[in-house]
């Protein structure tokens, strides 16, 4: 790893060296230097040349047909008859099906509800992403926001009510993702602490739970929620399927998050705990004031990373008949009036997932840098 880091560092230094003259007066010389640099980078050695040529070839094979399909030959408005005539993408399909893909079976006249839920969740996510706002009030905001979203979607206080099997699309994906991650994290902290506990029974139980959850595939967990839970728990069938799934997902994710948190706990030197003890702090005070603040700070980027993985995993909800974003997109192309425009539907969904995940990963990088800075200080 050091060699890679060294290489990256030297590249960064070179880049900075390059930028400096460019910022100065000698624009032409700097431009020439940059060109030379570019040429060396692309064709410096025969390996570089080969890679460059292969990349260009690949791009040449992929990009023009894609542009032709997605833009030049595409049909932007009209009916499926117009699309059948064209060789390109049928974006008119997305126009007709956008609401369905986003909100699935939610009654069209009430689409403002899931839309509001998306707005609320987006606002909460942005707030959560701002370290300045990491305060208790944020937790309260999440609680109010999610409970409010849930009641709004269900129409509990503002009839008509909408049963949760009619919910779907992006709001379901976001609700499941945020709620399960949000509830899973405190659970995971407890599990991680239990796993490091001195009490044998607690430790063994935590290890059993974590290892069991991590040994089961996600799909199996969903099947348990869908099929086993209603039979095992009295009155289980009365609990809503989405909630059943969310309970199991929370338990499942908490095992993974617990391992991340445990990684953070292990970075805290034992001396700190001893020092806290010497000061007369008990276990809980030590954990709350000394250990966790530092441990969690180190693992926040890893948690963001984990969260991105979980977001993508929510698409498996389709296997138990919950219409998440991906499932809604797939179903949208089975309408006989608009048959088989899977490519367009999947492109839209891929775009949405990309925005969410790319945003998340850029944020994670930014956060890592920021937290490292404060750490160093």
């Amino acid at each position: 790893m050091t060699t890679v880091d060294d290489a990256l560092a030297s590249i960064r230094r070179e880049r900075e060296a390059e930028r400096r003259p460019a910022a100065g007066e000698k624009g032409v010389a700097a431009g020439l230097a940059r060109l030379r640099k570019l040429r060396n980078g692309l064709f410096g050695t025969w390996v570089n040349t080969l890679i460059t040529l292969l990349t260009v070839l690949a791009l040449w094979l992929i990009v023009p047909p894609f542009v032709r399909w997605a833009i030049i030959d595409a049909v932007w408005t009209g009916t499926s008859e117009d699309c059948a005539q064209a060789a390109g993408a049928c974006w008119a399909f997305i126009g007709a099906k956008f609401n369905f893909i986003m909100f699935a079976f939610y009654p069209p006249s009430l689409h403002w509800r899931p839309f509001m839920v998306l707005v609320v969740i987006a606002a909460l996510l942005v707030a959560t992403a701002t370290p300045r706002l990491w305060r208790r009030e944020l937790l309260l905001a999440w609680f109010v926001g999610i409970v409010g979203s849930w009641l709004l979607m269900a129409g509990t206080f503002s009839p008509p009510t909408v049963a949760s099997n009619q919910w779907g699309g992006l709001p379901v994906t976001m609700l499941v993702w945020t709620v399960c991650f949000g509830l899973g994290t405190p659970l995971a902290i407890g599990l991680a602490l239990a796993r490091r506990s001195n009490m044998r029974g607690v430790r063994v139980l935590a290890i059993l739970f974590i290892e069991l959850m991590r040994a089961i595939p996600f799909i199996a967990i969903l099947y348990v929620a869908m099929l086993i839970l209603p039979m095992a728990v009295p009155g289980g069938a009365l609990i809503d399927k989405t909630i059943r799934a969310m309970i199991m997902i929370t338990l499942f994710w908490s095992a993974y998050i617990a391992e991340v948190v445990r990684g953070g706990l292990q970075t805290i030197p034992a001396g700190q705990e001893d020092a806290a003890k010497a000061l007369g702090l008990g276990y809980w005070r030590t954990t709350q004031l000394i250990i966790l603040p530092q441990a969690l700070r180190t693992v926040v980027p890893a948690l963001v990373n984990q969260a991105i993985g979980f977001l993508l995993a929510t698409s498996l909800l389709a296997t138990i008949g919950i219409f998440d974003l991906l499932n809604a997109a797939r179903a949208s192309a089975t309408d006989p009036k608009w048959l088989g425009y899977y490519d367009e539907a999947y492109m839209l969904v891929a775009f949405i997932y990309f925005i969410l995940c790319y945003g998340g990963s850029r944020y994670s990088i930014w956060l890592e840098r920021r937290l490292n800075v404060s750490h160093r200080r």
């Binding site: 369905f100 869908m226 069938a237 399927k241 389709a318 296997t319 797939r330 179903a331 949208s332 089975t334």
Partner: protein, 349 residues
């Protein structure tokens, strides 16, 4: 798949005898009704809606742009909601994957599967599911390129045929060709979307699946007219509504809802002309549509139930024409018996 014959006649006979028994105890009709109500029907009545499991196959069940379920099986579900609850909208459709449909039915997640379940003895006797009448006679078909010049499956000697992995399709295919004394090369395809690609790129000469899927696939090919669905059916796939065991009355409501759709077509009653039949003098039509309420009262249903089904949903033929004809389906076996098909309703009396 297969072995349908051993199941169906027996159950039809049972149904007929049950109907006879029911008409014998018609005197205490309403009390009998209450006694008949089983766990599933109780749940449906207290919930005020039916929970139905469906799939997503174009023409059979698919959401339209406004998120409303449409399709052949969906209309049968709406008809059932009229029978059970008097309102075609009192049914919730939920799509589920083929692997989890039957377990979900067993777990009570659904009151009925309208997802096109093939009747088999394992499902009926080992798993304890009950089947309504066959509403769609499907079978494994072969979709071939037209330029092969093949008009029947027997001419496909030595052809490469794409089959979906993990289905009984390959077995049926092997059986068929062995019986014919011909050879073929199977190409197993994992992803259902790759079927079309394999056919378009000429990697296979034909693809095989249940014909319901093939008709949908053909429409999605670049030049659908260059392909033809061969007339042979390599397997029997009688698709029927499936329910969990233990609720006889619920099963009978399913049965007679389907029969009402078939009977209406046989009598020539459609959603458009149904009102003109109300003052018919034919006693069987009067009983059927509730102009003479004696039958409906005897069986504990709203006298207008069949009328409402026909008025709202249409007869079997109308449902077929509405959803499957546009996709290129011919009636074939799925025609009423008087027109050479297999659909036959017991009498309404």
């Amino acid at each position: 798949m297969g072995l349908v014959d051993s199941v169906k006649p027996a159950s039809v006979k049972q149904r007929v005898s049950r109907v006879l028994a029911a008409s014998l105890v018609a005197a205490g009709a309403l009390m009998a009704t209450a006694a008949y109500a089983g766990p599933t029907l109780d749940k449906i009545t207290s919930r005020g809606s039916i929970k139905a499991g469906v799939g997503t196959t174009p023409g059979f069940f698919s959401p339209d742009s406004s998120g409303r379920w449409q399709g052949f099986f969906v209309d049968i579900g709406r008809a059932l909601a009229i029978t059970a609850l008097g309102d075609p909208e009192k049914i919730e459709f939920t799509s589920s994957s083929p692997q989890q449909r039957l377990p979900a039915l067993q777990a009570g997640e659904f009151d009925i599967l309208l997802s096109g379940v093939t009747i088999t003895p394992t499902r009926a006797l080992q798993l304890g599911f009950h089947f309504g009448p066959t509403v769609f006679y499907d079978g494994q078909g072969l979709l071939v390129r037209k330029d092969l010049g093949v008009t029947s499956a027997a001419e496909l000697d030595g052809a490469t045929i794409g089959v979906q992995s993990g289905t009984t399709g390959e077995l049926n295919l092997a059986d068929f060709f062995r019986k014919q004394g011909k050879s073929f090369k199977p190409l197993t395809i994992e992803d259902t979307r790759q079927f079309n690609a394999a056919l378009e790129e000429g990697r296979v000469d034909a693809i095989t699946q249940d014909s319901a899927d093939l008709v949908g696939k053909q429409r999605q090919l670049k030049n659908p007219e260059n392909y033809v669905l061969l007339p042979e059916r390599l397997s029997k796939e009688p698709l029927a509504p499936a329910i969990a065991g233990g609720d006889d009355r619920w099963l009978e409501l399913v049965n007679w809802t389907v029969y009402a759709l078939i009977q209406a077509e046989e009598l020539g009653i459609t959603s458009e002309n149904v009102d003109t039949f109300l003052d018919s003098q034919d006693p069987s039509i009067r009983r059927f549509l509730g102009a003479d309420p004696s039958l409906a009262q005897a069986i504990g249903l709203d006298p207008k139930w069949a009328y409402n089904i026909i008025k709202n949903v249409g007869n079997y033929g109308e449902v077929f024409e509405r959803h499957l004809k546009p996709l290129g389906w011919e009636r074939g076996y799925n025609n009423i018996w008087t027109n050479g098909g297999l659909l036959y309703s017991p009498p309404f009396r």
